[in-house]
Subunit: 183 residues, 2 copies
């Protein structure tokens, strides 16, 4: 279980999402919770804090997120690798994934969708623009509240390459001296 | 310099892009070449092979890519970390980045924009949908030809966290036994 989480500036969520981790997207709709895995996402703006996400219409979560206009993007670390794989290979139309995978649904601050307590960070999202949902299943969310565990500063994340194979995050490399502007 | 590259199926580029690496985007317009760094991108579809990319209008590359409707997404490995940082902290309005950073512009197969020979993989892209360019600087490209070095199978990539700090890719973890469907 991660350590105590604190509020984190929503304009800085790129620190966790830009490196491209697999995330868990939690949702609530008509009294039911669900979780899906997601690897196709991109930061789109600092402020408002926008994140674009591909949520296939074949996923049970698609209708729940479209209906509620909300979700939480949760950042799992490597201890959860088997759980992540199992979440991605089951459907919320058949099981309650919080129960099935022993995950804890915590109340969020701004949205109805639950946080996943076992994750290092939780980003509460509200649908910002659905212009590309029909054509590409591409949702643009605004992160309206962020919760991040204070340690470690750089959590060990999973990055999916397809075919059942994950890349795990490795060492950090600082190159601040070469930066003359904010990248 | 990477080993010999071969054609790679465009529907499989998620293997390299879904993990979320910093990429170098090369372009050509009105006889000039340019390169920019990009960390805000997402795979959007297998076939056609679509990739969504945030290219800020403040970048010199923005007008070149909008004008030509083309670019190449190049995958740099860790040997190029200083070059990547320098490319992201300079502008093509002042220098020729291929010359300045000793990179080799190779002719592409399907687009006019050059490949960066020193990169592990090169994905030739054509603008597929500009519906979100005005509002978000978000371009949807189709990868129409892909070139990938045969070794190593999993290149050591850089993943940007902001503030001049990169995460380097680490070990691979296979969980195929838990996969009952293609994720």
């Amino acid at each position: 279980m991660p350590g105590k989480k604190s509020d984190f500036p929503v304009s800085d969520v790129r620190k966790y999402l830009e490196p491209g981790p697999i995330v868990l997207v939690s949702s609530r709709w008509q009294g039911k919770n669900n979780i899906m895995t997601m690897g196709w996402h991109s930061v789109m703006e600092f402020s408002p804090s926008l994140v674009g996400c591909l949520i296939s219409s074949g996923n049970h979560s698609f209708g729940m997120i479209r209906g509620s206009g909300e979700c939480v993007i949760n950042l799992p670390t490597v201890e959860l690798i088997d759980t992540v794989a199992r979440i991605g290979n089951s459907t919320g139309s058949e099981i309650d994934k919080f129960d099935a995978f022993d995950l804890t649904a915590e109340e969020a601050g701004e949205v109805d969708a639950p946080l996943i307590k076992e994750c290092h960070a939780n980003f509460e999202c509200r649908l910002h623009d659905d212009a590309l949902v029909e054509k590409y299943n591409f949702f643009i969310f605004e992160v309206i509240k962020a919760h991040v565990a204070s340690k470690p500063e750089h959590p060990k994340t999973m990055h999916y390459t397809g075919d059942g194979v994950f890349m795990l995050s490795g060492k950090m490399a600082k190159r601040r001296a070469l930066f003359t502007k904010v990248l």
